[in-house]
Subunit: 417 residues, 2 copies
């Protein structure tokens, strides 16, 4: 095997731990300088790859690369950009191969979710056809936890931990205030299609916190929901509601897409949280507070799950190791060995089985009434939020690294994206 | 000085560290059993005191009391309840004295903000008049940071740290995504009258994060604001906006009170964040995300400032020490000795000078353009977010304590509140 350079690119929504995967890729590649030359990174993901806008990661110190493990966001920039189908777009794939060829890139590590797995798969197939073989390895990442063939997705465990802890803290707050003030706290969390993130709040039930969860998988039943909230307030004095942004009415319309208008006359998407809070107020008169966590939840590296960070690093390292073993068109996976004590190993899946398959929450993970999680779900989730992995602090703030991100000299003519 | 019991009560909105003050009060009292008998706590604050609904804190183990230092929320319940003016309401004050008398209470420690300082002051004055002298000591607490005569208020430093870090993390996220997706992130933070909490995001400027702050002190100037955001996006590729919930238009109307209606036809208060986000979208077309931190920010004990926790404990301890020295009608204060290295000592203020005085942000803390903070503000804020003081974790979640809260047998007839 001759020495080749590598291209690493981040794709889609970033997470608290995607840089830990980058760290795993780069640190492992640096240990195999006989096989892997320079690790380039795409500036803003695949956009940088197409535009030949590459970053030379060899210009970064070992200390800065190590600091990626503790830094949220995408250190090289990410992109929401899906390559078009091959039929109408071999132009983009041909350009990618041209960039690979120009920079002697033999390894492509693509760090993303379902869409990027599909892109990575196509690259792995096409590079052969187009006469410039590249080993394309997908590095799994998504807070949505919806990739198949892996027990979980790096990024998810940290969001789950953040939501469980934030919900716990806010619930204790409301419990303190409920006698004379706020009785209802509504937290809106991410999850357009699947309720994995919302499910994390279900872990609080064993602490006696009354949490009602609204999953996107369950059409919103207003009467049943309002009765449940009322019962909780009667029993506990307060109630917390965790609502997925993707909750829909029976007619399929998102709760959050209520087309409200503000005083400026602008229609805007409110969140699902205020809609839910106001419904409760209207029905029962309870005083409420609501929060929308949005990016705070997926960026919260300060509260990352140690298990999740380790997963993220491990799949980055494994991607390089698989490449060095000669694999192509695969994705390292997390295979659970046991729940308690939690043990896992790194496995491998063929990309053709990963691309375009979404994994939803199993039906037996949602409680019968539709507002909570089952014991099976608890067993699944609990290991994923284990352990704390605090960043270093200076002057009261985490020392997150910003890389130099030195550009590689371009060799090709410009390309219109 | 004969031995007397003590009453401790929490008041108003709770914080991440108010229980650290409770811990300081109770642990210190336990060291002086010759002078202080039982520390009772009002269940739900002053409501419990009026209703003779007292908690016997001597039933709690030393370990559980120590755990209060790490537990957010109000462990005994708090209340939003302001005693009425003496003119129309000596009934409530007479009742309080009757409860004190019935339970041999000679020390009243009231843990709250401006309103409770006023109540505490009146109790200190009236107990003499009504023939049952009680030493009333106010323990300062408020995330609003608006009490006079103390350099800062316990509770504020932790919120400031949470907002600075959450804004940093979300900003790095947006920076990663800005090329193809989100360019604007808007975070709404607490602060109806003063911009102290929003100001904390100004600490990120030295990290090169483009943050535009909207303070309640500065009437919202739409054109100027939109120009500033646009300039940031042109320069940095993205822009973060931190908006106080209390921001108002020039006519005095809250941005958040836009009287929107949802699809159910219910008028509801949207947050200021979606209003701001949509204004930017309308003007510039930038893609946005927004978050409303709400209770998450004041309950976030997982990210508390070590300095703030220490302040909170210290004022609790000092309150008992002041009482033991014979003081009445006072509040322990935090007196800054130096900024860097940060040093402080505990002072004392007369309650008559605390009650009904609000401290606003000094004019020289807000930058000339109205969207950031000055160097003076940075020097003030920096020490308050210093240090981390993590709770213990079990199974991935913080081990926050829930006390037994055993009721004291009532001795008086019921009282209608």
């Amino acid at each position: 095997m001759s020495k080749k350079n590598a291209l690493y690119a981040q794709s889609g929504g970033v997470t608290a731990v995607i840089n830990a995967s980058a760290c795993g890729v780069i640190e492992t590649a640096r240990k195999h300088k006989d096989k892997i030359g320079t690790v380039f990174a795409g500036r803003n993901g695949i956009i940088g790859a197409l535009g030949e806008d590459l970053i030379d990661t060899s210009k970064e110190s070992d200390a800065d690369i190590a600091a990626l493990r503790f830094t949220p966001s995408g250190a090289f920039g990410s992109a929401r950009y899906k390559l078009k189908g091959l039929e109408d777009n071999d132009r983009e794939y041909e350009r990618l191969i041209a960039v690979f060829k120009a920079h002697d890139i033999g390894y492509f590590f693509y760090n993303g979710g379902g869409d990027s797995a599909d892109t990575c798969y196509k690259v792995s197939q096409l590079s052969q056809t187009l006469g410039y073989p590249v080993q394309a390895i997908h590095v799994p990442k998504t807070i949505d936890n919806d990739l198949p063939l892996t027990d979980c997705c790096p990024g998810f465990g940290s969001v789950a931990k953040y939501i469980a802890i934030s919900t716990l803290e806010a619930s204790l707050d409301v419990r303190s205030m409920a006698k004379t003030s706020t009785q209802i706290f509504v937290l809106e969390v991410m999850g357009r299609h699947a309720g994995w993130i919302a499910a994390a709040a279900g872990l609080l039930a064993e602490q006696g916190i009354p949490v009602v969860i609204l999953f996107p998988e369950i059409p919103f039943d207003q009467a049943k929901f309002l009765a449940k909230v009322d019962a909780n307030v009667r029993k506990f004095g307060y109630c917390t509601v965790v609502v997925s942004e993707g909750v829909r009415l029976a007619d399929g319309k998102f709760l959050a897409e209520q087309g409200t208008k503000d005083a400026f006359g602008h229609v805007h998407l409110g969140g699902a949280a205020p809609v839910i809070a106001n419904l409760i107020k209207e029905a029962h008169g309870f005083k409420f507070h609501w929060a929308v966590a949005n990016y705070l939840q997926r960026a919260a590296r300060h509260l990352a799950s140690k298990t999740d960070v380790k997963h993220a690093y491990d799949v980055g390292r494994a991607a390089v190791q698989l490449a060095l073993k000669g694999h192509n068109s695969v994705m390292p996976t997390i295979e659970r060995v046991s729940d308690a004590p939690y043990k896992y190993k790194i496995g491998m899946a063929d990309l053709k089985n990963v691309a375009n398959v979404e994994k939803f929450m199993p039906k037996n993970f949602i409680s019968r009434d539709g507002f909570g999680i089952t014991e099976a779900c608890r067993r699944y989730l609990t290991p994923l939020i284990q352990g704390e992995d605090y960043p270093h602090y200076a002057n009261g703030l985490p020392r997150y690294v910003t890389l130099k991100n030195v550009s590689v000299k371009k060799k090709l003519p410009p390309f219109a994206i």
